[in-house]
Symmetry: C2
Subunit: 329 residues, 2 copies
DNA sequence: TTGAAAGCGCTAACAC
DNA sequence: GTGTTAGCGCTTTCAA
């Protein structure tokens, strides 16, 4: 059932119906009588406008593209939930995609979203997404980048101060008396990972400690990282504390520790929290990024851009908390 | 840049351009020469068709609506990821929504998706979504329901045999010698929860054991369930094993056990797996639903309906595995 | 081998 | 107060 059929049935014009439907009866100076007839009829037949046609006509789709690395993980999943909730308040829906860190998927996804004319894009970019971002910007589509900043390109951005949070975390371990603190991370050029690494390095260096670093590539659903970490731990028996650059690496690390032949006690700290961390023994301290607050800022920023495409770019660094749990010396 | 502008520029008609773009040059009997000119020009200016306009014209949006309870949780998050991956193979994108179990949100979401003319819907329904489902069916939109079946309505369905899996799990505990097995669950009328409950009851009854049941409502980000469970455990000191009707309730239970003043050893079993379960002490055994397989079946079923709307309804019950971990007697 | 034209369902400027 | 009309960008039938 379409607007023309309604018009025909009621013997009025399409525009009259359209105005009434969109609550513009007043300003379109439609008589109360007509308005009521139309509303009643709409109600009776349960008419719902075709959002596609509306979007085509108005150029607005009330859909936001959300692109993350992995919607199934414990960082992006909850973030996605919060983002959706905040966007719902503004009557936007979410078209989502997980890139799994792959650039080809990421590019394709950005393109498809642009083809579908999303009104805005929220992006946690992969390593090399400069080109896609340029395209989004060129099309003048409101964009908010979060979690990872894109070097060399100015965009709206919401993130954490990875360097400082990381440095604080490591300094905390040092203050607790740990002398041989290992960093376990992934081989990634992502800026936030580099910052976390740098925070570790600087903290260690300043106290004239020796750095111990393991980089192990991480493929989901694979036990290899745990094995690699286990071996590395055996090879480095002096290491007395571990700092993991992200939570899922830490989970692998916990498995490794659990399977260790020669049990030993190490301090553990991770970047990003995880449900698990307060339930394992020893508990895991961590740097926690406030997920809901991140989502709130992201949506707020996007909505501002949506309202006014000329709005100045914003950047919001949200402080991370150090969550100390009782696994320390 | 639109198809008409291209046509004008190349002095051909819109239809010629359209045919070429859609790879129908052959069947539209466009000369190789024209086809090449068009393709070259398209390439040169980087033309991308407006998917919205295309959808309006064809009635297909290449978008699937995915409606779950909570995309941030450890069941639906990974499922969503897999569903997206499988759908990508068929060039569908995903419009998602979390209902948080609320019927009003769920209904609204279904409506919005229908307004946007999604080509199909994948739904993990809330308690009372009969009406929405009727609407979807009436519109003849391909639908696959998963995780929870809707009583009284025939639909495509993918799920687990909750009753049998649950019964097996409890019988396993009994075989291990546990005599006082408590069920901790949520007060929910969802069919899958009722089935799990029934599986427990029947197993217990058949062995003439005494049932111990705690129902505690579960609101995310709230420690109350853990407190309630803790208290219940103290009040029921004879309970020597616990069966949790779902994984997040079990996580709350683990917290409760951890905080117990009088430490005691209980066997633990949960419905649904969780990363955490092999890392805590004692480890948690569980009934595991194979997430990837579920996603695969869901998408397969949907694609079949998409291809042929007259295809007969299907129902696929995927067996769950009993994962035994070393926490048992 | 190609073009013209109608149509998908809606909006919005303008005319009456 | 209300209707006409011209789009939005694409597909598809039919005629040439």
């Amino acid at each position: 059932m379409s607007i023309s059929e309604i018009a025909k049935h009621l013997k009025v014009s399409k525009s009259t119906v359209s105005l009434v439907i969109n609550g513009k009866a007043e300003q379109g100076r439609i008589s109360k009588a007509s308005a009521k007839r139309i509303l009643d009829y709409i109600d009776e037949i349960g008419y719902k406008p075709n959002a596609l046609a509306k979007s085509l006509a108005t150029g607005k789709s009330r859909t936001i593209g959300l692109i993350v690395e992995n919607i199934g993980d414990s960082f992006f999943g909850p973030i996605a939930l919060y983002i959706e909730e905040y966007l719902r308040k503004y009557e936007y829906q979410v078209l989502y995609s997980s890139t799994l860190g792959k650039n080809d998927i990421a590019s394709e996804v950005v393109q498809t979203m642009m083809d579908k004319h999303v009104d805005g894009i929220i992006l946690a970019p992969t390593d090399k997404q400069e080109f896609d971002v340029q395209r989004i910007i060129k099309q003048n589509i409101p964009l908010v980048v979060f979690d990872r900043k894109i070097p060399e390109i100015d965009t709206n951005y919401v993130g954490t101060d990875n360097y400082q949070a990381s440095r604080n975390a490591v300094e905390y371990l040092i203050d607790q008396g740990y002398k041989h603190i290992g960093l376990i991370t992934i081989p990634s050029g992502q800026p936030q990972m580099l910052d976390r690494f740098q925070g570790y390095s600087d903290a260690i260096e300043q106290k004239k400690l020796k750095p111990y670093v393991l980089r192990t590539s991480f493929i989901e659903k694979d036990d290899r990282p745990a094995v690699v970490i286990g071996k590395w731990l055996q090879d480095n028996p002096q290491v007395d504390a571990l700092y993991f650059s992200t939570n899922y690496v830490c989970v692998a690390g916990l498995k490794a520790i659990k399977n260790l032949k020669n049990k030993r006690s190490v301090g553990i700290m991770a970047f990003d929290d995880h449900e698990i961390f307060e339930l394992v023994e020893p508990q895991v301290s961590c740097v926690r990024q406030p997920l809901e607050k991140i989502a709130e800022q992201v949506v707020g920023m996007l909505v501002r851009q949506l309202k006014d495409k000329g709005a100045p770019l914003e950047e919001k660094i949200i402080p991370a908390e150090l969550i100390v749990r009782k696994n320390q010396k």
